[in-house]
């Protein structure tokens, strides 16, 4: 049975959750938040979406499969880990660049953000991989 109100609400919920999770990811370094929390929040949005729309739809929404997202996360972490090696530092050392007076005011960018993004993608992927597997076993549609 389709429930249009629920479907619309879940669509909106997913968008809000995604935007909120990215916001949490970005502010994570200075305020409560961070990759892990953001990852859980993003995956909550996807889980609710999957519960209403089923697993087939969620796959198309996510573009890549959850395993691939885990892979992207690990690749980002790997990149952030080896960037310092190219500058002659120890592996996983945080490197920073300052973008003063840019369009968004002064911005401080560094490899930890890349690392955190990797964690974010990884956690989202892991939770979704587990959830979708369970839903497929249950034939949730």
């Amino acid at each position: 049975m389709r429930n249009i109100i629920l479907e619309k609400v879940v669509q909106l919920f997913l968008k809000v959750m995604l935007i909120y999770s990215i916001y949490l990811l970005m502010r994570g370094h200075n305020n409560p938040g961070g990759g892990f929390i953001a990852g859980i929040i993003a995956s909550t949005g996807f889980i609710f979406y999957a519960m209403i729309y089923g697993t087939e739809k969620i796959r198309t929404i996510m573009v890549f499969s959850s395993q691939q997202w885990i892979g992207f996360g690990l690749i980002l972490i790997f990149i952030s880990a080896i960037i310092p090696l190219m500058f002659g530092k120890e592996i996983l050392t945080g490197l920073w660049i300052n973008l003063e007076n840019s369009a968004f005011g002064s911005i401080h960018l560094g490899t930890p953000l890349l690392f955190d993004t990797g964690v974010y993608l990884g956690v989202t992927g892991v939770i979704l991989a587990i959830t979708i597997s369970i839903m497929e076993v249950l034939k949730w549609n």
Binding site: G34, I70, D116, G118, V119
Partner: protein
């Protein structure tokens, strides 16, 4: 010039690995191309031996220290040059040979890759001057020979043979590792040259016996000595080029090499002497004896190899300069004729389709060249003039005679083994090649004219060398004398002659030949006798016994695992809690005296109190609830309470994470709950009481630990460092996040990896069940 050696060795390894890319380019010519590498090495060594003196020793120091005190050092001396020449020379011929032999096989690329790596490992083994690298290459030969023996992996027999050889030689390799470490510890260095030059008194060291037994185990397993000999006949499941190489110059001869190499360090004691002589004698005789009863040409040759290896171990055990000289010569002799004969067996197999000597007949006509040189090799195996085998066998006799005290045991058995060798050579000649025998000629698929030159070049070249060296054995003088210098540490002149004049050794030879001919004439009776013994011994069939032991071991391991990994979640939890409680209680008891009285409580916070009351109530509710859903919700409440407690103490990130995780778990639970069976009370009264006791004890201990946690501060907490440096060095105000992504990024990396693995586990488990269901549906 010789300094190029490490580069060439490296090139062999690289060529082995590059086979992956070379094979699509070269296809059928791959073997011919690859044979250039050992040929280069052979040429290099050949040029080197022309102008070296007897006490020549060159150590090429490696630059990179890949383990502490372990370098890739190579040494070039008489001993390693002899082995190097044989390995690279026969390797060259084997590669030529296999480029045609393997042409009908699939996975040729794999074959050449394994063979090249095997060759490279074997060469690196004989040239390495470091005990640890020697061990590494030793094991590498075991592994690559496993891949080669099991090359026809679709046959259960070859898989089993490969596994057996790997397990046995791998076990020996481990023994060698322990021996190498012990020797390194005693000497303070792993360099063989330094160990020798330091003149350490190994022989009287209290751990000498242990070191020696470990080395002995390595040698006996690798060189297929009794009682570990049984893997070698099994190893003939490998394609014939591999057998030819394995038996003639490599693998099994690594044990001989090791013995010769460490003879100056460990040799000369009674235990060395008697254990080597004992196992050598038994192996020598048994190998020759069992080779008589076989039908398969390759199997016959495999048993004669065992016999020859026994002879060499025995000679090294005797340990006089003369016997070492005999070992060297015999090693060359054996390599030359055994390599050739195995290749001939392969040629016969290819051109007729069988290796049964009682089916084969009259091969001289279709395979004239091969047969001629095969007969030369057979003469060399029998130890008759004018082949090098005669020179070798005479020396062996001399060495055996001059051993006082033991020669009365060794000599008859040695002569017995030689009689068997002569008889088996005659049998092979008579059954396979003799043209006048009244057996119907076998059908030939490939007469010699259709075979390419490089396929039959191997046995021809080896037999020709054997003949030339037999007529003029003086060519080996300097080579053997060089090798002798290494083991005996003094210059000993070697004069090899084909004909020593008429003496007791020649008398022994004539006696052996006469008896050999006699055994050959009565071979039917002898064979029946051997078969009788074999069937009797088959009750004790060693390969089967070995497999039985192995299976019993696996069965035991399986049983033990299922005892520990029983699959009952509640017992896992109970084990976990019990261990925690015991360790915790032990620790508290341990530090009892150091515990300070607990003081300085903060006043009770009203919010905190409320949370604890809610949490406790939820716990009680969860325990006594009659419905699964409400129990799960109560568990969720406990989770939220914990999250709020974090919040009260200012750990915002932790609190958010806890709340979110709790939510996700709730959602998942609700999803699954519909599919779970009815909620029923399955536990007995007894088990409930047990659980109550466990939980009370756990609660008590944990409370104690928490109460005292403040009092136990062995090290200064690191949190101060994080708080100070979080913004200054890591540019972040959120300490938790900075710790996660910067200070302790490696931990986070590990955690993400663990999460990924968990996801992979869940995914593959569920995938499996989904697929199974789909399959059942069909």
């Amino acid at each position: 010039m010789i300094k190029l050696l490490p580069i060439l060795l490296g090139l062999l390894f690289v060529a082995g690995i590059m086979v992956v890319f070379l094979y699509p380019l070269l296809k059928k010519r791959l073997g011919l191309f690859l044979s250039l590498f050992p040929l280069l090495l052979f040429a290099l060594l050949f040029v080197t031996i022309k102008n070296i003196s007897s006490d020549y020793l060159l150590i090429l120091h490696g630059k990179t220290e890949f383990l502490k005190n372990v370098f890739f050092d190579f040494r070039v001396d008489g001993l390693s040059v002899i082995f190097g020449l044989l390995i690279s020379g026969i390797g060259f011929l084997v590669l030529l040979y296999s480029s045609w032999y393997m042409k009908s096989y699939e996975r040729q690329g794999h074959f050449f890759m394994y063979l090249m790596l095997f060759m490279a490992a074997m060469l690196a083994l004989v040239f390495s001057d470091n005990l640890i690298t020697l061990f590494i290459f030793w094991e590498l030969t075991s592994v690559t020979s496993f891949l080669l023996i099991g090359f026809d992996y679709h046959l259960e027999k070859s898989r089993q043979a490969a596994l057996q050889s790997l397990l046995i030689t791998g076990f020996g390799g481990l023994c060698l590792l322990f021996a190498a470490i012990l020797m390194g510890q005693i000497a303070g260095t792993y360099q063989i040259s330094e160990i020798i030059s330091q003149n350490i008194d190994f022989v009287n060291h209290p751990q000498y016996n242990l070191v020696f037994i470990l080395v002995l185990a390595a040698v006996l397993t690798k060189s297929a000595q009794f009682p570990f000999h049984f893997w070698l006949p099994g190893a003939m499941q490998a394609p014939t080029p591999v057998s030819a190489y394995l038996h003639s110059a490599t693998m099994v001869n690594a044990g001989i090499y090791l013995l010769l190499r460490i003879q100056p360090i460990l040799g000369g004691t009674d235990i060395w002497k008697y254990s080597l002589i004992l196992s050598g004698v038994i192996t020598m005789f048994l190998g020759a004896f069992f080779s008589m009863g076989q039908k398969d040409l390759k199997r016959i040759l495999a048993f004669t190899t065992i016999s020859a290896l026994g002879t060499m171990v025995l000679l090294i055990g005797i340990g006089t300069p003369l016997s070492i000289e005999a070992t060297m010569v015999f090693f060359i002799v054996h390599g030359l004729y055994k390599g050739g004969l195995f290749m001939v067996a392969g040629i016969i197999d290819k051109s007729t389709g069988t290796r049964d000597i009682y089916v084969l007949s009259k091969l001289f006509k279709p395979l004239p060249l091969t047969s001629f040189f095969a007969i030369l090799s057979l003469i060399s195996m029998a130890g008759l003039p004018p082949m090098l085998g005669f020179v070798g066998k005479e020396l062996v006799y001399v060495a055996k005679i001059q051993l006082p005290g033991l020669s009365w045991v060794i000599l008859p058995l040695g002569v017995g083994a030689n009689i068997m060798m002569i008889a088996i050579s005659l049998t092979i000649f008579f059954e396979i090649f003799y043209p006048l025998k009244n057996k119907s000629a076998i059908e030939i698929k490939y007469p010699e004219k259709k075979l390419p030159w490089y396929f039959i070049a191997g046995p021809i070249a080896l037999a020709a060398i054997s003949l030339i060296l037999g007529i003029a054995p003086g060519g080996l003088n300097s080579l053997v004398s060089n090798a002798l210098f290494v083991t005996k540490n003094k210059i000993i002149d070697v004069h090899l002659l084909l004909w020593h004049g008429f003496n007791q050794v020649v008398l022994l030879s004539i006696f052996a030949v006469a008896l050999g001919v006699l055994v050959f004439i009565f071979r039917k009776h002898v064979n029946r006798f051997i078969h009788y013994i074999l069937t009797w011994l088959n009750k004790l069939h060693l390969p089967t016994l070995f497999m039985k032991v192995l299976n019993t071991y696996l069965h035991l391991a399986n049983k033990n695992t299922s005892r520990l990994q029983h699959g009952y979640h509640r017992f896992y939890l109970m084990t976990f809690f019990a261990v925690t409680v015991i360790i915790g209680a032990f620790q508290i008891n341990w530090h009892l005296s150091e515990l300070k009285p607990i003081t300085g409580y903060t006043p009770v916070n009203i919010n905190m109190l409320l949370l604890i009351i809610v949490g406790t109530l939820a716990t009680i509710f969860a325990v006594f609830s009659k419905s699964r859903l409400s129990a799960i919700i109560a568990m969720g409440v406990i989770g939220y309470v914990v999250g709020l407690i974090y919040l009260l103490y200012g750990a915002i990130d932790l609190s958010i994470t806890q709340l979110l995780v709790e939510t996700v778990i709730m959602v998942l639970f609700v999803m699954v709950i519909y599919y779970l069976p009815n909620f029923a009370l399955l536990s007995t009264r007894k088990s409930r009481i047990r659980d109550i006791i466990i939980s009370l004890v756990v609660g008590f201990i944990v409370t104690l630990v928490v109460l005292h946690a403040n009092a136990i501060n062995i090290y200064e907490p690191i949190s101060g460092f994080f708080a100070e440096n979080s913004y200054l060095k890591a540019h972040g105000r959120n300490i938790v996040n900075v710790i996660l992504v910067d200070f302790r990024a490696l931990d986070t990396l590990g955690e993400v990896t663990v999460l990924t693995l968990a996801a992979v586990g869940v995914f593959s488990l569920f995938r499996f069940t989904v697929n199974k269901k789909v399959n059942n549906g069909k």
